[in-house]
Every structure is written in C-alpha cells, then in structure tokens.
C-alpha cells in the first residue's frame, strides 16, 4: 500500500490525505466542472449519515475536512486533534469509498455551484485569471475552469456524477499521506484496518496534447463598470515539468520577477508606485503551462504600465539576466527553501506531489544543487527558448471605455477583444 508518513510530535495534531490521480482533465467535453462536483458531493458525507450528522461528527472530533480538485488530482484532506485520530480515519475512508452521493444533496450542490459562479463576478483577480487561461490555451483542456460554467453545469446530472465516481474513484488508484503526531507503525496498522487494499496508478507520460501559443500579441479587455483600478495579466506559454529548461528558467524568472527586489517589482512599484504588487510566475505541468506577469495599476496609467512591462520583458528575453541578479536569485531560492519543509504537512505534500504529478525525485532531493548549478548561459538560453516576447496574451479587467484605445496602441498588438465581465 502506498502510504507516506511524516511523523512530528511538535503539536498534538494529525493531517491526513487521500490523494486520487483524477481531476478536471477527466471532465468530458461539455461537462466541465464534473470532477469538482463529484469531489464536493463526496464531501457531503458517507452512506448512513445525513449531512447534518456528518458535519456534527466532524466538528465534535475537532476535525476539518476538505476536498480539493485540481487539473490532475483530487485530494481529500482532513486535520484532527491527535486524540481523535482513529474515528476520523474511519470517517475519512467512508467519505471516499462509501459516499452517499444523494440526489437531494446533488440538487442543492448544483445550485450552490451556480451561485458561486455568480459570486465570482465580484472578484476582479479571479475574473482576470480565468480569462487569461481561456485566452492563452483556447480549446486545450488547460483552458478549462475547474468549476465549469453555467452551460456545462446544466448538462451534469446525478447519474453523470455517479458514473464519474465509479469510473475514476471507486476502484481507482490512490495514495495515503499522514503527517503529525503519530508513529509510522501505528498509522499503517490503523489504515490497514479501515482502508481498502491500495491500487497503484499506472504512470502516464502525457495525458493531454501539447499546448500551442497564438501568434502575435492579443489584448482581451474584461469590461466591468466603475473600475478605478485594473487587473493586468501579461503572459505566454511557460515550461513542462520534465523540461530540461525548467530549473534554468526557474532561476531566470526569479531574478526577473520572482522577488520584491527584482527589476519587475522595482520598476513598476519602487520607481513609479504604479502597482501594489508586480510579480512574474512560472507554472509547469505535463505540457507547457503558463508564464505570466501580474500587476494592478490604476486605470489612468494601466496601458503605460503594460508598455513598461513589455519593455522589461523584451529586455529580459533579449538581453538576458545580469550575473549578479542570477546569483542573487540562486541564493534566494536555496536559502528560502527551508520554508517548503518546515512543517510535517508541507513535507508530506512534497512527497505526494512527486507521486501524483510525475515530478522527478531529484527536484526535491537535489533541489539546492539543481538551482546552484544553473549558469548564466543556461538561464539566458532557457528564457529565449521558452518565453516569447512576441506571442503574448494581455488580459486587463477594466472599464473598457476608459482603457481600450490606449491598449490598442501598445506595440505589436494584433487584436483587441472586449468581453463583458458577466458573460457567463
């Protein structure tokens, strides 16, 4: 059985996780949101317990439980006071392998999911992020939202959820992780008595086709009234997890926009005061995921801020990273790495990620060496190979009438699309 244990007696707490290699990439086309609905319906409790009694039971144990669905995994997580570990373990197993999946709960859950989509319209950052991925990845599965949209939710019934559960979870592979105040032998014995015999996932190299970027620079304005401030995302494709350029690019990106004292933050915020935050992020997955810069400038200078960011991007891609900045980024990444493992639960997550997301073991075990050995030449070549300053998606959440003309004038822009913020 694949059980991962990180013991620590610092606090009388235990974190538990059942990790399943199934996520929104398994959503059938047109039924986006199915994996998430399935996970959330499981969270409503096991057979034989009404949702009310299930919630009371959890709370009285001093426990919390959540189901988090991502593109490639479903993670059922719980945390509990040490003294109540065994009853919580049994309850967790029932949630995953004996879920009630009641039709009445499903109807309510679906109405709740639709209400959450409406509520998201208040969140400009979330609107920008969703639109950015859609514009960058188009029809590719990476462009789908985990929660689906109004139309896709309407197409999902309880039977689809039950089928999805039977096909992907009931008899599917899983991993178990435990972190905290518990000994390895004790927890293995408890798991053996409450959990089914484990099944291992077959390693799949790639589950989706390669991502492709759209040629040229394209602006999408998410039009929302009365915006004094804008959310701005500028980005392109990034890297694959098993990309030889990944660590050189990680170091290079950290030097450019991964810290407070990097050139992106200093030029946007330090020198001009244009945005509270200014960072660049590198995401990776089995196929090339996104790389993007995010800022939040006032509407009156949003396009100026975008122009400045484009200039900084061109300078970084074309001119490379200064040696001093590269060494600084390496020291930052190595020295701050201790915060990725300062608690038992973080160490557990790292081990589960390795198994679940097909991350090479060396990325964790030899992290410091992989970062330290990146040369300026490798960093610059990786940046040029992976980050395009010509094929870019520029998303701005703003009041279109106030910013559209200035964004049209940005260098190299081929198209400007305006979408209403409440289109779904």
């Amino acid at each position: 059985m694949s059980i991962f244990v990180e013991s620590s007696d610092v606090l009388p707490l235990v974190d538990l996780e059942i990790a399943l290699p199934v996520g929104s990439l398994q959503d059938p086309a047109g039924q986006e949101g199915l994996a998430q609905l399935t996970g959330h319906l499981m969270r409503r409790g096991p057979r034989g317990l009404s949702q009310e009694r299930f919630e009371d039971r959890l709370a009285s144990l001093g426990a919390r439980m959540s189901v988090e669905v991502s593109m490639r995994s479903t993670r059922v997580r719980a945390t509990v006071l040490r003294r109540n570990l065994e009853p919580l373990l049994a309850l967790l197993a029932d949630v995953v392998w004996q879920p009630a999946l009641r039709g009445s709960d499903f109807s309510k859950l679906k109405r709740r999911a639709a209400a959450a989509l409406t509520s998201r319209l208040d969140d400009d950052q979330a609107l920008g992020a969703v639109c950015f991925r859609e514009a960058l990845f188009g029809e590719h599965p990476y462009g789908r939202t985990l929660s689906g949209d109004t139309d896709s939710l309407a197409r999902i019934g309880i039977q689809q959820v039950k089928d999805f559960y039977d096909r992907n979870i009931a008899k599917g592979a899983f991993l178990v992780g435990v972190a905290g105040d518990v000994a390895d032998t004790e927890v293995r014995s408890l798991i053996a008595s409450h959990f089914p015999k484990a099944r291992r996932a077959k390693k799949k190299r790639s589950d989706v086709p390669a991502t492709r970027s759209r040629r040229g620079r394209h602006v999408v304005i998410v039009d929302k009234p009365e915006r004094t401030q804008t959310q701005l995302l500028i980005g392109t494709l990034g890297a694959r997890t098993r990309d030889r350029n990944l660590f050189p690019l990680l170091v290079s990106n950290t030097a450019f926009g991964g810290t407070f004292s990097g050139p992106l933050m200093q030029q946007v915020r330090g020198v001009r005061g244009w945005s509270y935050g200014a960072y660049s992020r590198l995401l990776h997955s089995t196929q090339r995921d996104a790389w993007y810069m995010s800022t939040a400038p006032a509407a009156e200078y949003s396009a100026d801020c975008a122009a400045l960011q484009l200039e900084l991007l061109e300078h970084w891609v074309g001119g490379g990273t200064k040696n001093t900045d590269l060494r600084f980024a390496q020291r930052y990444l190595i020295n701050s790495h201790c915060f990725d493992r300062d608690t038992a639960s973080k160490r557990l997550e790292a081990r589960l990620d390795l198994e679940l997301l097909d991350i090479p073991r060396s990325y964790v075990e030899k992290y410091d060496q992989l970062v330290a050995r990146v040369t300026k030449q490798q960093a610059d070549e990786a940046t040029r190979a992976r980050i395009s300053d010509k094929d870019l998606i520029i998303v701005v959440v703003a009041t279109a009438s106030e910013v559209a003309s200035s964004f049209e004038r940005l260098p190299g822009v081929r198209s400007v699309e305006i979408v209403p913020f409440d289109r779904t």
């Binding site: 620590s8 007696d9 610092v10 606090l11 009388p12 707490l13 949702q51 009310e52 919630e55 009371d56 959890l58 709370a59 009285s60 001093g62 426990a63 919390r64 945390t79 509990v80 006071l81 309510k108 109405r111 709740r112 209400a115 959450a116 409406t118 509520s119 319209l121 208040d122 400009d124 105040d181 929302k224 009234p225 009365e226 915006r227 004094t228 401030q229 810290t259 407070f260 004292s261 200093q266 915020r269 330090g270 020198v271 001009r272 005061g273 244009w274 945005s275 509270y276 939040a296 006032a298 600084f328 930052y332 190595i334 020295n335 701050s336 201790c338 915060f339 300062d342 608690t343 409440d422």
Partner: protein, 456 residues
C-alpha cells in the same frame, strides 16, 4: 504541545550577568523579567533593555527557521482626522532608505538571506516581521534595529509610496465591494472613537501627506520603549540577546510624550441603517454590533457564540442559510480583536433573487433563540474542539508562534496569555453565552449596511 528534546538554555540570571558584564550604558543593560510556561514543552522568556525595549524569546528547535517580530504600539487609532492612514503609509516607508543602507538594500539583503519580510498595520498596532533560515538572525536584528532609529525620509520615497498606497486603497477598498462596505460600517458605527476611520486612510488624506508629517510620526512613535521584539524558533538565546544589545542598546528610550487616550464611544440607542449601491451581482448584508474589547471578560462567551452561529459547516447559520433555506451562498462572523470595544461583524452573502428582509428576519430569529436557549452540550463540545484545532494550527510554525505572542503582548499586555485564552473558552457555560448574546447582539446596538445591486 508534546515534549521534545529540551533546548539548552542557561539560567536567565546567569545569562544576564554575562551579557551585562562590562556594559556601562544604562540603555544597553539587560533585565530579566520573568519566564512563562508556553505549553508543556516550551518556555517564553521576557527580558527588557535599559531603554525600555521588551524582548520575548521562545526557543523551539522543531524546524531550522527563526521568526523575528517587532510590534509597535501604534496604529490608526493614534492618528487624527485629516491625517488618517499615516500609520499604514509609515509601515511602507519603513522599507525605505536608512542612514546605513541605501534604498532597496533592506529587501535585497533579506531576500538574499532567504527571508520573507513583511509588515501589517491595524487599529492598535503595527507589526514588522521576518521569517528566515536560522543563520540569518544576526542580519534581521541589525536591519530592524537600524530602521527603528536611522530611517531617512525624503520627498521621492514619500511621493512614490503615497502612490503605492493609493493603488492599494483602490485594490482593497474602492473597487472592492466588501472593502467599501466595511469602511461604511465602521464610519457609521463609531461617532467619536478613532476606530471610525479606515486603517488605510481616506484617499484625500493619503494624497496630502508631507515628509514633515512622516518625520513627526516617526519621532513620536518609533522608539524602543514603544516596541516589543519577539524571537521564536531555532536560535541561540545568548547570542541573539547579545546581538540585540549591540544594535539596540545605543538607542534612546523615547523621543516623545505618550499619545492621548482616545475618546470613549457613546452608547448607541437605535439601529443605524445605510445602503451601498455597487456593480455587484448579488445583494449582501453587513451587520456590526458593538462588542467588548479583546480583553473583556465577556469576549470568550461571545467568541463561543460566534462559533455556534458561524463556525464552519456544522454551525447554525451555515446550515440554515446555505443548506436548508438556500438563502445565502455563505455567511461569516467575527469579533474585532481590538484594545478598546469594537464590533461583532456578520456577513450574509445572499443568493440571486433572495430578499435581504427575509435573511435579516432569519438572523434575528436565530440570535433570539441563542439568547433564550443557549448552545446545546454538543455545540459547546464542537466549538471547544474547533477552537483548540485552530489554536494548534496557529502554532505550527515559528512565525505562527511569534505572531500569537506579539499580538497578545500588544493587545492583552501578556504574550503568554494565548494559553489562558484557550482555558477561558473551556470555562464558558451555556448560561454565559446566553447572557453575552442577550447583552450585545441587540438590534438597537447594531449598524447595518445593505449592499444593493446597481442596475447595469
């Protein structure tokens, strides 16, 4: 907390004797005040430098990290009308140039060491903190001591940071429905007390600050005697105190008089209702009931009431509003943890087409029921266990421990009182909850903000 290998710590009197040997300047001489048990395995020690700087140490070797917090007893309550937001702007300026380090050096040195450095300002305090690998502690001490007394305030930095703060205000308030509603709530719930203005400040005030305002604020509030330093994590206590002595020992105690005590808020006699129209897809209700201070003996009972009503998916109001009646997408409640009496805030995020009047009637009915019947034994058990769980989670990292200690020291005058609070929750009875709910959660004591949809 469970037992762990006890870290080596000498007797504090011996430690102090060693540290003070040959030190003539009174400001640089240490006094050991006392120690407090911090759970079952750790000890919180309280020291004071001659210049009034309080230092609390908690050696905890569970991870190779250290957290360094500096809590100043200054927040937005110490401002005055026309100058609101100065404490928060100042927090930004503290990352600027000093006489010993040029602009940008602070962040660069911190990040190169692998440290996360940030700060927060609220009504009663300003906190600067770093979470760092253990070897970085001498650097943290040097840089924090330096900016406590050597900050350089010039026009370009103040101008640039005013623009950053103006943008932060747009992000968190002007373009954020919840931010605007909260600002409206406090502005109307309080008539005299400084809690009425927002910590980030009114935009007009932010735009108007001068270098002179900033220098005066620095002179008044930034001194060792107005600060508490908390060091938590894996460090050598003697070396750390020696570094503190070296870098802070030369600073004078205080440079200005104590700020005046804020005016007490007069009692509220009738409900106050205000409306906010915004481009939002759904209506919302925000209610604020006048609540006791963080240290008031009634507060633990109100915290239990908050958990019974709003605490997680098994709470009464989540069940009623979000699951059974499907009136709201979510509900939440909290009590402002302030030195002076604050507000018990309640949010109801209505679903499309649901009426705020119906939601309010449901809420009033449930509050009345809690005031008359109190919580059940099962609800008390759930609540205590959930609060214990939250407390333990807040103690997982060195940064979490330092934050709790610094907060309790600043707001409740005792950094070790975090454990007393958990004990106080355990002592709350159903009758205590009934009494507290009946006393504080009355419609006449509340201010209501109704957030309405603006027609598109």
């Amino acid at each position: 907390m469970a037992a762990q290998a006890p870290p080596f710590m000498g007797a504090p009197e011996v430690l102090i004797e060693r540290l003070n040997r040959g030190v003539r300047k009174r400001n640089a001489r240490w006094t050991f005040v006392r120690d407090h048990a911090f759970g079952d395995a750790l000890t919180l020690r309280r020291f004071r430098l001659g210049n009034g700087l309080t230092v609390l140490t908690l050696v905890d070797r569970s991870a190779p990290t250290v957290s360094y917090h500096t809590w100043f007893r200054v927040g937005s309550r110490h401002e005055r009308p026309g100058k609101t937001g100065l404490a928060h702007l100042f927090e930004h300026l503290m990352f600027s140039e000093t006489r010993n380090h040029p602009h940008g050096d602070f962040d660069r040195l911190m990040e190169r060491a692998g440290a996360e450095a940030n700060a927060a300002t609220w009504t009663d305090w300003t906190c600067y903190y770093e979470n760092a690998p253990r070897d970085a502690l001498p650097l943290l001490i040097e840089l924090e001591a330096d900016r406590m007394s050597n900050l350089v305030l010039r026009v370009p930095q103040v101008t640039s940071e005013k623009e950053v703060v103006a943008n932060e205000r747009k992000l968190r308030v002007d373009d954020d429905v919840e931010g605007r509603a909260l600002e409206m709530l406090y502005d109307n719930a309080f008539r005299r007390h400084p809690y009425r203005w927002p910590t980030i400040g009114w935009m007009k005030d932010i735009r108007g600050f001068t270098v002179r305002d900033c220098k005066e604020f620095y002179r008044t509030h930034y001194a060792p005697s107005n600060a508490t330093v908390v060091i938590a994590g894996d460090f050598n206590e003697q070396k750390a105190l020696s570094h503190v002595q070296k870098h802070y020992g030369g600073l004078p105690a205080s440079r200005a008089a104590e700020p005046p005590t804020p005016t007490a808020e007069p009692s509220q006699r009738a409900e106050r209702v205000h409306q906010l129209t915004a481009p939002t897809p759904t209506e919302k209700l925000l209610l604020g009931y006048h609540a006791p201070s963080f240290s008031d003996p009634d507060t633990p009972a109100l915290v239990i009431a908050n958990e019974v009503l709003f605490g997680g998916t098994s709470s009464r109001l989540h069940r009623l509003f979000c699951l059974d009646e499907e009136v709201a997408l979510s509900v939440r409640g909290s009590i402002s943890p302030f030195i002076d009496p604050g507000l018990f805030e309640m949010w109801i995020f209505l679903r499309e087409g649901k009426r705020k009047e119906d939601a309010l009637a449901l809420l009033d009915r449930e509050i009345d029921r809690l005031a008359s019947d109190g919580p059940s034994p099962l609800e008390l058990e759930k609540t205590i266990n959930q609060l214990e769980l939250s407390f333990l989670h807040s103690m997982e990292t060195a940064g979490g421990k330092a934050e709790q200690i610094g907060f309790y020291e600043t707001v409740a005058n005792d950094g070790a009182a975090v454990f007393d609070r958990l004990a106080a929750y355990r002592n709350v009875t159903a009758d205590d909850v009934k009494r507290a709910v009946g006393k504080y959660l009355r419609p006449s004591l509340r201010t209501r903000v109704e957030i309405l949809r603006k027609a598109s």
